[in-house]
């Protein structure tokens, strides 16, 4: 059945595969082209821990074979692809023999939990404020809100987070200074644990929120302002609809579409974690895992994290590409 919808979906899917393949190749190549190799890091760690290692060479030789690092890069690539297709992400080099899946499974829920809530929250707040700023005629108030939120969004995140921690976790003790949950509670599905998780995520979430709201606000504002000049709004006003109704039903809805696209794209990126947040707040997320892997040149973990991150973004983009035409009748399935 040659419907334009099917052709469109297939075309998009082929694009998805091509881009995914390209991204996987880059993810494979990047860590390995880095100078420094994982076993030197392992050897150095053993050396500093206990004053030198004789016979280190044999240990290295064994592990080189074990991780398949003695083969040339193309063979390694083929092996990697084969492993990937069978769903095996390989063993972690720095935490041998734990498989990479286990390490990832421990940290992904935290990243997703924190970043999902903060992304959605900052999106909502940013959009609401953006509508307000775009719609209202109060120049001064608009200016203040815009400048303040823009100002927060450009402060280097590291400094903002440090200052927040200093003020709210150490000087005025409202929030805990770090960690995913209180140290005396074990992860389980109890109310205590969930409450502890929520409590510990407030300050990291606040720090991300302050920085992220600005971007959504600006884009929403320009969308609303551009819609203000549209003819159909004039028509609705002439019909006698109240201003609020016009704003909610026409302006907001139309402006929402591109924002939803933006939201979906940034949701796709949350799997990559927020490294600085996790470092400062000692939050057990994907970013710190990647950073540790980077320090120890653990190729398998780095590849896996990059893989998940790119697949997340690509998947979100693919879904949007498919769903967008359904939502916005102005866009049709034909190209051009």
């Amino acid at each position: 059945m040659e419907s334009p919808i099917l052709r469109y979906i297939i075309k998009r899917f082929i694009n998805f595969i091509i881009v995914a393949f390209g991204a996987i190749t880059i993810n494979f190549a990047l860590p390995r082209l880095m100078p420094g190799d994982p076993l030197a890091a392992m050897l150095m760690e053993m050396e500093t821990l206990s004053e030198g290692v004789e016979g280190g060479k044999e240990i290295i030789e064994y592990y080189v074979k074990e991780f398949g690092l003695d083969k040339d890069i193309f063979t390694q690539y083929v092996c990697y692809l084969k492993q990937l297709l069978s769903g095996d992400l390989g063993p972690s080099i720095m935490a041998y023999p734990t498989p990479v899946q286990d390490l990832l499974a421990k940290v992904i829920p935290w990243s997703i939990g924190l970043l999902l809530t903060t992304t959605i929250l900052s999106w909502i707040i940013g959009n609401v404020l953006g509508v307000f700023v775009g719609w209202s005629k109060k120049r001064r108030l608009n200016g203040i809100i815009t400048v303040v939120s823009l100002g927060f969004s450009v402060i280097p995140y590291y400094i903002l987070a440090l200052i927040l921690v200093f003020l709210f976790a150490y000087e005025i003790r409202i929030f805990p200074s770090g960690g995913g949950y209180a140290i005396n509670i074990n992860p389980s599905l109890t109310l205590e644990f969930i409450a502890s998780v929520l409590y510990h995520s407030l300050l990291p979430a606040l720090s991300i929120l302050l920085v992220a709201v600005g971007g959504w606000l600006i884009s929403m504002r320009s969308l609303i302002v551009s819609i203000l000049g549209e003819d159909y709004l004039l028509f609705a006003e002439a019909k006698g609809l109240k201003k609020n109704v016009i704003m909610m039903r026409y302006a907001f809805r139309n402006a929402l579409l591109p924002q939803v696209t933006g939201l979906a794209l940034s949701l796709g990126g949350i799997v990559s974690g927020a490294l600085l947040t996790e470092q400062i707040f000692a939050y057990p997320g994907v970013g710190t895992l990647f950073f540790d892997a980077f320090r120890y040149r653990d190729y398998n973990v780095m590849q896996a994290v990059l893989l998940f991150a790119t697949l997340g973004t690509l998947g979100a983009a693919f879904i949007i590409d498919i769903l967008y035409p359904l939502v916005d009748p102005r866009i049709c399935y034909e190209e051009g």
Binding site: M44, S50, G55, A95, T98, G180
Partner: protein, 676 residues
């Protein structure tokens, strides 16, 4: 529109109030359950996070990471021996001693009696034999297994508490592999009854990891590990040691700035801080104290001696004269914490006695700051200063090098760059990632580089000198032959391998080796920083004093093995100290006093009798001894009779007292038996 904006701002305010209210409630929830680890019974220290926190088999890399990151070396794992840096003495722990055969082809290891694993099984020689055989069999998959394979031919258990280790080649230094010198020892025993039949490369030793140490793991997550003291630890009885904190928590705080904040707010008991930050924080928080010992790893400038013109020794001497070590000390923290050094050896007495001042004055380029001498040396070589002030060699090479480093920020590199600029050598600082730095250092792809003296020979300078023996050279990692001294060097090092440091010949050899190293000067020593930590004394005090204090092997460095001794040394500021023996009930005390009075009287009679001992008196002596024996038996019976009613801690107390009394008596008997 104004009503709308009013409504809007009200909504926002309401939302924020709601969030704050929720956080208050949640914090209350947290505080309620936070009573589980009372602060005055806990020690909290910061450490790194671990990706796989449930791997407690320390011979695999994942386990080694766990071991390194959270006090496993101090709280869980115990070693055969430990080492006191100050006095240079060996401290017996799981082993009580060792004895080499005359030809150093084998070693007897005497194990301590009374040691038990934390599941109650006693520690005996079969665990040690099992460990060595496992390491040999699984080499090179387990950490340090190659060492065992290289040196150990066979391990035999002579009895339950003695092990005979036969070597493949004679060596006098095997026992150092079993000693925790700084952080940990390389070889340590693992329980046979747990590991037998399991694949050691996959086995996790979790849950309920089995160790001999005084703490057990009650929680192990990626960022937090909580340990609780075991009251059935063997050391309480046998060694009389009682670790004071009931709980020890290793927590991942985050970045260094947060550690400083946490220390200042009394949320940590130990931590790291930059020295200047410490000085500022101490004003605000008088509980902070500094504890430091000289670092085992001195800072050096490593020179690539294969590159022209760095291959000329005089150029290296010129660089060494030009570095103002005092200024480097100033910018790296100040002279209170950084000391200029002249050799690669740490400032510990045990090795410093092999740094001979007459050799240093002969090779004074490591001792003095003399930039004029540098310039003269370079000019004598025929180098000329170019128009930009940088020296140029006769064949046209400019003295412009790259200085490789990994620290950021690196004030030392900046100071050295300025110093060398003054004498006409230009360096550009090339900062790389630490892993890259290690790689480049290993491959020899650098010109000048920052380096530190890793494994510098804390026990004996021999460990440092043997690293430059030509047998360790390989084509991929050139160790740079010390021309023209390499042959002489090799011979001297080989001689040293067969003797002890206390031999009279050894001092002369060390002198010559020091001179060779200083003349070759591939590594230019610069400075050594005090490795210090900050102690917060709000909850715990009586931390051991640093170097110079007798018995200062108890270190509060919480990633070293000897942290456990510090934990026994400290006292809580809030609670009374937990002492091994409990209060003995009054009646027992009285009977013990009566009996000890009796024994005193008897011993007085005995000494009177000894004064006039005759063969007839000998029979009397025997009778008195028998009376003493029965008294002590009476005493021990009394002690036994109360063990059912009183818990073990009390019994230990009586046993201790009783053993003490028996010891006195036996001493007296021994004296009585000796011809006076």
């Amino acid at each position: 529109m104004s009503s709308k904006s009013l409504k809007f701002s009200l909504t926002i305010t309401a939302a924020m109030a709601l969030i704050l209210l929720c956080s208050e409630m949640l914090s209350m929830v947290n505080n309620v359950s936070a009573q589980v680890y009372p602060r005055e019974e806990t020690i909290i220290v910061p450490y790194r996070r671990v990706s796989d926190p449930t791997f407690y088999n320390f011979y695999m890399p994942a386990g080694a990471w766990v071991l390194a990151s959270r006090g496993g070396r101090a709280l869980l794992q115990e070693y055969f021996f430990s080492y006191d840096i100050v006095t240079g003495k060996l401290i017996p722990e799981l082993a009580t001693g060792y004895e080499y055969e005359r030809d150093f082809s084998a070693m007897k290891l005497y194990l301590r009696r009374g040691v038990t694993w934390n599941d109650g099984v006693p520690f005996t020689s079969k665990d040690v034999v099992f460990t060595f055989n496992l390491l040999k069999e699984w080499a090179p998959k387990l950490c340090y297994s190659t060492l065992v394979k290289k040196w150990v031919k066979e391990v035999v258990a002579l009895d339950d508490y003695t092990v005979l280790i036969k070597f493949t080649k004679p060596t006098a230094r095997f026992h150092w592999l079993l000693t925790a010198i700084i952080c940990a020892a390389k070889i340590y025993p693992i329980p046979e009854h747990v590991f037998k039949g399991k694949d050691p490369t996959k086995f996790r030793n979790w849950p309920n990891p089995v160790f001999t140490g005084p703490y057990r793991v009650i929680k192990s997550d990626a960022d937090v590990a909580v340990f609780e003291r075991r009251d059935d630890w063997w050391g309480i009885k046998v060694l009389g040691l009682m670790p004071q904190p009931k709980y020890v928590i290793y927590k991942n705080i985050g970045t260094a700035e947060k550690v400083a904040m946490a220390l200042e707010k009394n949320e940590l008991d130990l931590g790291d801080m930059d020295y200047s930050v410490y000085l500022a924080a101490r004003e605000k928080n008088p509980y902070l104290k500094m504890w430091g010992i000289p670092t085992p790893c001195n800072w050096l400038v490593d020179v690539n001696v294969l590159k022209y013109p760095l291959n000329i020794p005089e150029v290296r001497y010129a660089i060494s004269y030009a570095i103002n070590r005092t200024k480097v000390a100033e910018v790296m923290g100040g002279l209170e914490v950084v000391t200029p050094v002249s050799t690669c050896f740490p400032l510990y007495p045990s090795v410093q006695k092999f740094v001979f001042s007459d050799v240093l004055s002969k090779c004074d380029w490591v001792l003095r700051y003399d930039p004029d001498r540098s310039i003269k040396l370079l000019e004598d070589l025929g180098f000329k200063r170019g128009p930009d002030g940088i020296f140029v060699t006769p064949n046209g090479t400019r003295l412009s090098f790259e200085y490789l480093t990994y620290s950021e920020p690196d004030p030392m590199a900046l100071a050295i760059r300025d110093d060398l600029k003054k004498i006409g050598i230009e360096i550009t600082i090339h900062r790389v990632d630490k892993a890259v730095w290690e790689d480049l250092m290993r491959k020899g792809q650098y010109e000048l580089a920052f380096n530190y003296a890793s494994s510098p020979g804390i026990v004996s300078p021999y460990d440092w000198y043997k690293k430059f023996h030509s047998e360790l050279y390989s084509p991929e990692t050139p160790y740079y032959k010390m021309n023209p001294w390499q042959e002489e060097y090799d011979k001297l090092v080989d001689r040293l391998a067969t003797m002890r440091d206390t031999d009279p010949e050894a001092a002369g050899i060390y002198k010559r080796l020091l001179e060779i190293r200083l003349r070759f000067l591939r590594k230019i020593p610069v400075a050594a920083r005090f490795e210090f930590i900050i102690i917060n004394e709000k909850y715990w005090t009586n931390w051991p004093a640093p170097m110079g204090y007798p018995g200062a092997y108890a270190t509060p460095q919480w990633w070293w093995h000897k942290f456990i001794y510090a934990l026994c040394h400290i006292r809580s500021k809030v609670k009374a100290p937990t002492l091994p023996p409990k209060e003995i009930p009054e009646e027992i005390k009285k009977s013990i006093e009566e009996l000890s009075a009796k024994i005193d009287k008897v011993s007085e009679e005995l000494s009177a009798k000894i004064a006039k001992v005759t063969p007839a008196g000998y029979e009397e002596l025997k009778a008195t001894v028998a009376k003493l024996k029965s008294s002590t038996e009476e005493l021990s019976e009394k002690v036994e009779s109360f063990s059912a009613a009183i818990d073990r801690a009390n019994m230990l107390g009586y046993a201790g007292v009783g053993i003490g009394i028996i010891a006195i008596v036996i001493a007296i008997i021994a004296i009585a038996r000796k011809p006076s």
